[in-house]
Each structure stands twice: as C-alpha cells, then as structure tokens.
C-alpha cells in the first residue's frame, strides 16, 4: 500500500482528505505542523507528501527544500489557497511534483496523486533505491494495472479502428521505435500505453513525458537527470525520464516542440543506448523502447530545419496514424456508450441511453477535439441529466446548435470543362487551386478565416477564389 503524508494546519482539510485517500487505497498519515511532518518522515518511508504552503511553523518552500535534501525519492505535492504562477514555477523547479490550488476537487487531487505515485514507482524501481525499503510493485499489481487499462481501452468496430488494432498487435511484441501521428485528442497516449502493455515489457515502467510543456532550460534535466550541485538550484539528485523508463517504454508526446540542441542530445542517447546525468561522469546503460507522438507534420519540420532528419529516421521504425473521430463514424456511438458507462460509475448515476436527436447530433458533429472532447461532453451531459436518457438540453451549445455545413462538394459544370481540357496550363493551375482550397476547407470544417491562414492568402482573396471556382 502506498504511503502518503499530509501536512496541513487546517485539521478538517487534513482529516477529510485522509479519509478520501484511505478509501482509495492509500495508507495516510496526517501532521498539523512542519516539525511533526519531518518527524513522521524520519520514521516512515513515505511515497508522497502533500504539504500545505502556509504552515504555522514554516512554509511549503522550506518543507520542500528539507524533504528533497533528506528524502530525495519522496514525491512532494504542494497545496495552497494562493494561486501564484511565479511561485508554482519556482516550486516545480525546486523539485515539487505539482502545485495544486485550493479548493481541492476530489477527482482532480486523486488523479494528480496517482500520476505522482506512478512516476515515483519508476524511481523506486531504480536499482539504486533497492535498499531504500519502499514497497516494490508486485507483478500482480502490474497485472491488475494491465487489466484496468484493458477495461478502459475500447477498440472500435469501424474499418480504420480494426486496422489500428491490427497495427498495434503487430508492432507491440517487437522492440521497434514507433511514431504515433494524429490530431489532438485522438488518444495517442492510450495507443502508446496499449503497445507497452501488449509488449514483453508490460511489467516494466511506462513513462510518459509531455515535451510540449518543457522549457529549453528544464528539458535536459528532465530527460537525463542531474547530480546534486551540478548547477545553481540543483538541490538534490534527480533521476531523468530515460533512467526512470529503463527496462520499459518511454513515451514522448509533442516531440516536434523540442529545441534543436535537445534533439541532438536525444539522438546521442538513443544511438549509444547510454545516459549520463548532468554533472556526472558515470554512464548508465539503457534498455528503453521509445514511442513518440505528434500532431504536427514532422516532415514539414524537417524541411523547415526545425526537426532533425536523423532523429526522425531513428524513431520512424514504424508509424501509426490515428484517424480523427469524425472519420470513424462507426465508432462514435460505441465510444459515447463507453464514456457514459465510465461517467455513471464516476458520478454514481444510472443514465442508460442517448435520445435519438443526441445520437443524430453526435453523428453529424465535427468533433474537432476528438475523443477527449467527446469524453468531456458525455461526462457533462451525464452530470446534468436527471432521468435516464441524455437529451439535447444537456449538450453544450456549440454541439446542440451545430449544423453540418452544406457545401457543394461535387465538381460543378465549370470544373468538368476544366478537367476535360487538362493540357491547358491555365486550367491545370485552376484545377490545382480548386483541389487545394477544397481540401483545406474540409480540414478546417469550412472555417474560412482559418483556411485563409493556412492557404496564406487573406480572407477576401479566399472568398473571391471560392466564388471564381464556384465553391458554394
């Protein structure tokens, strides 16, 4: 059982939080001051500390510093009633796993704690910590995790979903690096997790890293770790994500955002299969499978000199494309039913169906935010539903008022004439324009401002061209 220490001088918050966490399977101890908290830390191996920022005898900054110096492998989450971005950044730089502002929403805090403990698992599994006396995750707990994920992961019945499942099944048992491509919200991390759990590495760590939110300064230390004192502010030894994932899988999300320098360091590490913490001379052998995800076109990045071609080819041993939800018509209601079941469980509700209007609306909607958007819409609708059927009034306005644009997709008479006279250079240029404009318009759901941006022309020109080539 994972051990959590709550340090908060608000006795009721500590008590209620400890009851909530105990109910969710954690072994919780509470302390009302920093001094008592440090005493408890001395006597017990805690996996995680939840510490209020304002305490009677000290503050969260001091506590974080002390905990990270004396117990570097214990995760710390700072809780505070003040929302101060500057302070949050400072605390995270000092080694806090996260900074949560009050009020504490039970689901939100449970989610953060679970993620922090998962990261901590990886730390604990590191060979150096074998003697530290933490609970080692048993293989049965890994099996449970795998089972839990399989219950959450839905394989669609549409042709594209079946193809996706086939590709996952095919590549999972190998050691290939994989690139997962897909729009935001299509479930890239779930696919990566599915590959990991179907691979022989399933009982080893799966570490996910969001490269989109990494600053240039933090990236090296996050990837490779650092030794205590290796630079100003390095108050403790930090294990990087490569080391955490050793033996398992490292999932790098939004990899297109990494700076060129970090890409070079990443390439070296991937090629040599060795990592050196910043400020250390000791090389650590790596056995990590890498899965990367991006919603950007990496080929474009290569052409523009933003992404290294050698790194791209190193990663591109296999690539999987996840189609957007709007192209997976057959899966839409399957997923909606699945999210409804999950929301019922989460909110202790018994909503069983969607009204026929809602089903029609779901089938026609563009789902720009893909599966993530659908999950949120269904959760919201379940919360607002009083009976057992989800109706139109529980849907957000942008969905209930959505009207599928009616455009004339079929080539008009003029286009036929153009096509018939292909050898005319002027007509060939017109046809290319027509195809490009229509393609971009479809991609952006006929949002003309966005289309004009992508096409690199102003909106007025786009309207004129649409009129000229008869796109209504």
């Amino acid at each position: 059982m994972k051990k959590i220490l709550i340090i908060d001088d608000e006795v009721n918050v500590a008590l209620l939080l400890s009851k909530f966490l105990a109910r969710n399977g954690f072994d919780v101890t509470t302390a009302s001051t920093g001094t008592i908290g440090m005493e408890y830390l001395k006597n017990g191996n805690f996996n995680l500390v939840l510490c209020d920022f304002r305490l009677e005898d000290t503050d969260g900054r001091e506590m974080l510093k002390n905990i990270k110096t004396q117990y570097p492998k214990t995760g710390v989450i700072i809780i505070t009633g003040y929302s101060d971005i500057k302070m949050a950044v400072e605390l995270i730089k000092m080694g806090a796993y996260d900074y949560i502002t009050k009020p504490l929403y039970p689901d939100e805090i449970l989610n953060t704690i679970t993620k922090a403990i998962d990261t901590h698992h990886a730390l604990v599994e590191d060979k150096e910590s074998e003697t530290a006396g933490y609970d080692k995750p048993s293989s049965s707990s890994r099996e449970n995790k795998k089972q839990a994920f399989n219950n959450e992961f839905v394989t669609g019945t549409s042709k594209v979903s079946k193809e996706l499942a086939r590709q996952i099944e095919l590549v999972a048992p190998t050691n290939y690096s994989v690139i997962i491509l897909g729009e935001s919200g299509t479930g890239k991390e779930s696919v990566a997790k599915s590959i990991h759990l179907s691979s022989p590495r399933y009982n080893q760590p799966f570490i996910a890293m969001d490269c989109g939110s990494l600053t240039k300064e933090l990236a090296a230390s996050e990837f490779f770790g650092h030794e205590k004192g290796s630079f100003t502010g390095a108050l403790y030894t930090k294990i990087g994500h490569f080391e955490m994932a050793n033996g398992g899988t490292l999932f790098l999300d939004e990899v297109g955002n990494l700076s060129y320098e970090i890409q070079a360091a990443l390439l070296r590490t991937v090629q040599e299969r060795k990592v050196k913490r910043i400020g250390s001379t000791k090389e650590i052998n790596l056995d990590v499978r890498i899965i990367i995800a991006t919603n950007e076109n990496l080929q474009d990045g290569i052409q523009k000199g933003k992404f290294r071609e050698d790194l791209y080819h190193r990663f591109n041993e296999f690539s999987i494309f996840i189609p957007p939800l709007r192209e997976r018509g057959g899966d839409i209601m399957l997923l909606a039913d699945h999210f409804l079941r999950m929301a019922n469980q989460e909110l202790s509700r018994n909503v069983t169906t969607f009204s026929p209007e809602v089903i029609e609306c779901f089938m026609n909607y563009r789902w720009q935010g893909n599966i993530r958007e659908m999950k949120n819409v269904v959760r919201r609708a379940t919360l607002l539903t009083e009976g057992n059927e989800i109706t139109m009034k529980t849907l957000p306005l942008e969905i209930s008022n959505f009207k599928a644009p009616i455009y004339d997709y079929s080539p008009v008479a003029e286009m036929h004439e153009i096509r018939e006279n292909r050898h005319d250079l002027k007509n060939a240029a017109l046809e290319a324009e027509y195809e490009t404009i229509l393609k971009v318009l479809r991609e952006v759901n006929f949002n003309k401002t966005r289309a004009a941006e992508i096409l690199n022309i102003d909106r007025k020109t786009l309207y004129n061209k649409m009129k000229a080539i008869n796109i209504k």
């Binding site: 608000e10 939080l17 009851k19 909530f20 003040y82 009050k102 009020p103």
Partner: protein, 75 residues
Amino acid sequence: MKAAAKVQNKQSAVSANNEPLRTLKHDVKNQLSNILLAIEQLRYEIPDLTPDCIFYLDSISLSSAKIDTLLREAE
C-alpha cells in the same frame, strides 16, 4: 530612476491594499475544500441516496464550484 521608484512604490501600495482580500480568498478556498471533500465522503457513506439527496448534494457541489469560479475571476 525616480519614476521607476514611484511605480514600484505604487505597486507595493496596491499589493498591500490587496493583501486582506488575498487572505480572505485563501481562507474561503480552504473552507470550500472542506465542503467538497465532505460531500464526496457523504456520497460514499450514505448507502442509498434518494434522488432528492443527490440533487441537494449536486447543488452544494455546483454552488461551491461557482464560488470558486467567482473567486478566480476576481483574481
């Protein structure tokens, strides 16, 4: 230099004026945490909640979330 010092003084004064409000928000947020966590516990501890009870608990949750939104908007 004088102008910069003036601006800094003004900022400190504004910040000092805001301090009681900041503390008030902090304390309200603490109490909201208690309400939200207590509701969560009630949902668990009362075995068969009647639809009315669910409605009351949902109302308290939603109102707490609304108070939180109002506090955030005032920041």
